[in-house]
Amino acid sequence: FSTFPGSPKWRKTHLTYRVVNYTPDLPRESVDSAIEKALKVWEAVTPLTFSRLSEGEADIMISFAAGEHGDFVPFDGPGAVLAHAYAPGLGINGDAHFDDDEQWTEDTTGTNLFLVAAHELGHSLGLFHSDKTEALMYPVYKSSTDLARFRLSQDDVDGIQSLYGPPPASPDVPVVPTKPNSPEPELSLMCSPDLSFDAVSTLRGEFLFFKDRHFWRKSLRTPEPGFYLISSFWPSLPSSIDAAYEVANRDTVFVFKGTQFWAVRGHEEQAGYPKSIHALGFPPAVRKIDAAVSAKETKKTYFFVDDQYWRFDEKKRSMEPGFPRKIAKDFPGVDSKVDAVFEAFGFFYFFSGSSQLEFDPNAKKVTHVLKSNSWFNC
C-alpha cells in the first residue's frame, strides 16, 4: 500500500459526506446505497464513522461529471479514467469525482459503482495506490470481482490502519485482529465452547448465525461456514440484532432490533423498512423480540419474548388471538430465555447462551441438547 506524499489524513474520526449530484444511469437510492456500502467497507476496519449531509459542505463531496468539471483534471469520455479523488483536507480535498461518461451499474455489466466508490473513498481517506493486484487500491478496475464475496485485502487493511488504527474492540466479542484473511481468530471465536448467538435464521437453504457486527453463513454442502460483516451484505441493517427469521414462501428474511424490523430478499434490502414491531400486533409494552421462527408447513411465525411467545399467521398476516402464552407450557423443556431459534428438518432449534435444544414440535419434547456452535463442525 502507499499513502499520499506527507501521509495526509483526517484529524477526526467522524466524517461527513454528501452526494452532490446523481448519475442518470442508476436510481438515486442505488447510488446512495452503493456509497453507503463503500464507506462501511472502511468503517469496518477503522475507528472512522460517517454521516450523510444532504446540503452544505461535507468533508467528502461526491459528484458525477463528464469532461472538464472544474478541477483542471478533465475526464476523458467512456473507459480509461473512471473516477478520481483527492487526499484528506479542506475544500476539494477529500472529494471524489465519478466520470459520468461511464455506464454506472449495480452489477458488473457496466462499471460497478460500489467497487469504484470503495476505491475512490480509500483515496479520500488518505490511501494512494497499491501495487498488489488483489488490493482494492490497485489502480486498474477489475470487472471480474465477485461482488458477493468482496472483501478488503490484507494490504488495504494494513494501509488504512497505518493511518487510523483498528476499530475499537466491541465489548462482546474478544478482541480479534481485523485481518480479513487470517482464519485463526475467527476459528477461535467460532469454535469457542462459550459461543452464543444474537440471532439465527435460514436463508434459501443456508443457515445464518448472527453475532455482533458479523454473521457466519453455513451451507450444508460446505464443512466450513463463511464469516462476514453484516454491513457487507446489508448496509442498512444494524449490528447486534435481536432476532431473524425467514418466510420461505416469500423468499424474505425479517431482521429485528429493538422496536424495529427490516426485510431482506437475498442481498436486496426491501424498501419501506424499518417498520415498527407494533405494526405486527405487539402491545406497546413489548420493546424487543428475543427470537423468532416461521414454521414452513403451518405458515405460523413464533415470536419469543422473555418467558412468553406470540404466534403470527403469515397467511392472514396478523397476530393470532389468545397470545401471549407461556413458552414452557407449549414447548416443554425450553425453560430458559431464548436467544435465537430456527426450523430445520422438521425440528425447532432453540439457542440459549452456549446451549442449543433440538425440539420436536410434533412429539412436543426436546430430543437433543447440543452446543450452540454444533453446526460449525469444530
Binding site: 461511464e102 486498474v140 478496475y141
Partner: protein
Amino acid sequence: YPLHSSADSGMEFLQKYLEKYYGLAEDAKQFVKKKDSSPVVKKIQEMQKFLGLEMTGKLDSNTMDVMLKPRCGVPDVGG
C-alpha cells in the same frame, strides 16, 4: 500528412500514460527519439513493476493490454 502509424500512437499513448501516472517529465518532442534511452526505459519498467507486469522496458502487448484497461485517475507514484 503521413498517417500516424500505430507504433507512433502507441508511443504517444505510452508517453501520456507515463506522464499522467508515473511522473514522467513532459518532454513531448524528444519522447519517441528517446524511447530506448535509459530514463524512459526505467520509467516503463517502473510502471511494469507497479502493475505486476514483466519488466521488459518495452511497450509489449501485455503492458499495452493493462494500460488500456479502465482505471482510477489518481497517479500511481508521485504527488
